[in-house]
């Protein structure tokens, strides 16, 4: 069975769905952050796949950029979570309700 574009896309969709589920359902802020990374990875896979099948290299270049930005973003996200933990002694997302009415 030859591995075609659709396999990459299915993998990407599954990863994206898993990530989305994690973001929406998990309570731990760290897990949410990790789930966001999974979603980003899913998108990266899509881009690489399309880049490979349409013979345009710039897609893969963009993926490198995205990974760099994602690393920076993860650092910022972790820092925020640590800051929240310090002030509220919890990383439970449901307890973060300052924006509540």
């Amino acid at each position: 069975m030859a591995v075609g574009l659709e396999h990459f896309l299915i993998l990407s969709a599954v990863l994206f769905a898993i990530g989305l589920y994690g973001v929406l359902a998990k309570r731990n802020a760290l897990v949410i952050l990790m789930s966001i990374e999974i979603m980003l990875t899913a998108v990266n896979i899509t881009m690489v796949a399309f880049s490979r099948y349409s013979h345009v290299i710039s897609g893969q270049v963009f993926v490198i950029f995205i990974m760099v930005v994602a690393a920076a973003e993860a650092a910022v996200g972790l820092a925020l979570i640590i800051a929240i933990y310090r002030s509220r002694k919890t990383v439970d997302a449901e307890k973060f309700d300052l924006m509540k009415w």
Partner: protein, 636 residues
């Protein structure tokens, strides 16, 4: 040149207001002299105009008119009518005004508002002269309102007195009711005929182009303006209260400006109003009724100026009756065309002319008594005959003239009106003839109470500064007016206005009507003498025996109560204003507040959605994206 008659006093007003008052306030006499000079100028020009008119063809001076406004195709001109009616009026107005101004120098001496007073007086005179000379209704209405404004300013001249401020407001509002009708009539006429020009309107009415209910409504509308200005029933209530103003103002209002404007308006519009039998009947009935109605209130009033005010209302009623009676004769076909139209005007304006002299004389005389006693309440006067001989003599001459005693001025003009009333309106004639008796009675009641008997103390709490005759500057106008009050009836004013009256000094005494009215007049004087001079009959016991009637009269038929309690309080305040307030509170405010309440309530419900939970928001975004994608997939 004729424009200058109006412009001189107007100019004097401007000079006093903008130059003399701000910069020469330490020399207020200057403003009096400015006013007097301007009015002397007007008087000279008026007399010149009178002479020119009498020499002119058809007694009309033509003059150029100037464009005032152009709105689209509508051009409104300002022009002057100088015919015999206008000529008589301008001479009367400027003569009375001049004498009143001279008197005012003495009367208003030392008053803080001296310059302001003369500025207003100038404007008042200018407005009245303009009203008389205007040749179209719109231009006339401008001055008409000017007169109304000045009367407001002058009645409320001592505005720090609450009664004066109230009286001024009352005069303004009550006359405004009539003016509203007048304005509506002007607009209505313009819509129907396309012209404001008085001459054209008369031609249309006489030719029958303007007729039927249109003419009747317009004529009644114009007459309602006259009712307001001339204090005719049912808008008479402002005039007695207008006595709060300085006495010379009362004299001017009652004799020359303001109230005579109503009679003048009806006279000016006479060909038009008389073309409608309904309208002219209304004029006659209102006039005849007002004459006796006001006279009855004059019988019991205790304030000397109020008696004179009721007398003015009553006399204006006579003038309206004169116009109405001749008009009815014309409308019913008893009188032929042109002659009837000039006869009505002549009869009424002749009475206006003589009345101007003796009424201003009486007012200025009452001011002179007040100058000595500090009050206008006749119960506190008495015995002034000895201290104020000049005032006394002139006042008696004025009273005799008003009572219609031969051969004084009032006799002649009153006979004219009675004669016409007898010929065309028999019922109103009897009212008028009873009024003759009442007039004589109340005037001599004033004379006996004020000048005879013992002095009864004057103003309460005033330290007696000794009764004295008024200064010369007050006496001289009185004497001049007294001379006119005697001779004004001998002048051929009626002839000049176009009624061919056969004036004969002794011939007048051959008619039975003259004897009836004369004997009634003398009877009135005698009755006043018996009650108030000799005190053979006690006024108090008569008043008590007539209990309810006396109360009715002294309370002015409860008209003030009717208007203020019922009409203003019940109808306006409790009715219309309450309804407006209800609409304002519940509909206008209600809708605004309602929208706000709904928004707030909606917000309260909606904000429950804002849980502050990141994941809930994320889920909402996800569902939203799904919905958009689904939408695109289905519909693309």
């Amino acid at each position: 040149m004729i424009f200058a008659i109006i412009l001189l006093p107007l100019f004097s007003f401007l000079v006093i207001s903008f130059v003399l008052r701000p910069f020469f306030n330490n020399r207020p006499q200057l403003s009096a002299y400015t006013t007097i000079c301007a009015i002397v100028g007007s008087l000279i020009l008026s007399i010149w105009a009178l002479i020119s008119v009498s020499g002119a063809e058809n007694h009309v001076l033509t003059s150029t008119s100037y464009q005032w406004l152009a709105i689209g195709d509508t051009v409104i001109n300002i022009g002057i009518t100088m015919d015999s009616l206008a000529a008589i009026m301008v001479v009367t107005v400027s003569t009375i005004s001049l004498l009143v101004q001279i008197y005012s120098i003495g009367y208003m001496k030392g008053d803080g508002g001296f310059a302001r007073y003369f500025a207003f007086m100038s404007l008042f005179t200018a407005s009245m002269l303009g009203l008389v000379l205007a040749d179209n209704l719109l231009f006339l209405f401008l001055f008409w309102e000017g007169v109304g404004l000045c009367s407001y300013l002058l009645i409320g001249f001592w505005f720090h007195k609450p009664e004066a401020a109230r009286a001024a407001m009352k005069a303004f509002v009550v006359t405004r009711l009539g003016d509203f009708g007048f304005l509506v009539a002007i607009i209505f006429l313009y819509v129907k005929t396309g012209t404001f020009d008085i001459g054209e309107l008369h031609e249309l009415a006489l030719a029958g182009v303007l007729g039927g209910s249109t003419l009747t409504l317009a004529a009644i509308g114009i007459f309602s303006g006259a009712v307001g200005k001339s204090g005719q029933f049912p808008l008479h209530t402002w005039l007695p209260d207008a006595m709060e103003g300085p006495t010379p103002v009362s004299a001017l209002i009652h004799a020359a400006t303001m109230v005579t404007a109503g009679v003048y308006l009806v006279a000016r519009m006479f060909p038009m109003i008389a073309s409608s039998e309904t309208a002219i009947t209304v004029v006659a009935i209102i006039g005849g009724f007002t004459a006796i109605f006001a006279a009855t209130m004059g019988l019991v009033a205790t304030d000397i100026k109020r008696v004179l005010a009721y007398s003015t209302i009553s006399q204006l009623g006579y003038m309206m009756l004169g116009l109405g009676a001749v008009g009815i004769g014309y409308a019913s076909g008893h009188l032929d065309g042109h002659h009837a139209l000039t006869l009505g005007v002549a009869v009424a304006i002749f009475h206006l002319f003589t009345h101007a002299f003796f009424k201003s004389l009486l007012f200025l005389g009452s001011g002179s008594t007040s100058h000595a006693t500090g009050t206008f309440d006749m119960r506190k006067m008495g015995g002034l005959r000895k201290v104020q001989p000049w005032t006394y003599v002139t006042f008696v001459i004025g009273s005799l003239s008003l009572a219609g005693i031969w051969p004084l001025a009032g006799f002649w003009s009153k006979e004219g009106i009675l004669h016409e009333a007898h010929a065309y309106t028999p019922v109103l004639f009897w009212l008028a003839i009873i009024t003759v008796f009442m007039t004589a009675f109340y005037m001599f009641r004033v004379v006996f109470l004020t000048f005879h008997g013992e002095y009864r103390g004057g103003k309460e709490g005033s330290h007696s500064h000794g009764l004295h005759e008024s200064p010369k500057i007050i006496i001289i106008p009185l004497v001049i007016l007294a001379i006119f009050a005697v001779i004004a009836g001998w002048l051929p004013v009626g002839d000049f206005l176009g009624a061919d009256v056969n004036f004969s000094f002794f011939g007048a005494l051959t008619s039975w009507l003259a004897w009836v009215s004369l004997s009634l007049g003398i009877a009135g004087i005698l009755l006043a003498y018996i009650i108030y001079g000799r005190k053979l009959l006690s006024a108090k016991s008569i008043g008590q025996s007539l209990g309810p009637v006396y109360t009715l009269l002294i309370r002015k038929y409860f008209f003030d109560e009717l208007y203020e309690r019922f009409f203003v309080m019940r109808f306006l305040v409790d009715g219309i204003f309450a309804a407006f307030q209800w609409v304002d509170t519940y509909i206008v405010d209600g809708s605004v507040n309602g929208i706000a309440t709904i928004t707030v309530a909606g917000g309260k419900v909606m904000r429950k959605l804002e849980t502050g939970q990141l994941q809930v928001y994320g889920l909402a975004i996800f569902i939203g994206i799904l919905a958009i994608v689904a939408f695109l997939l289905i519909f693309s």
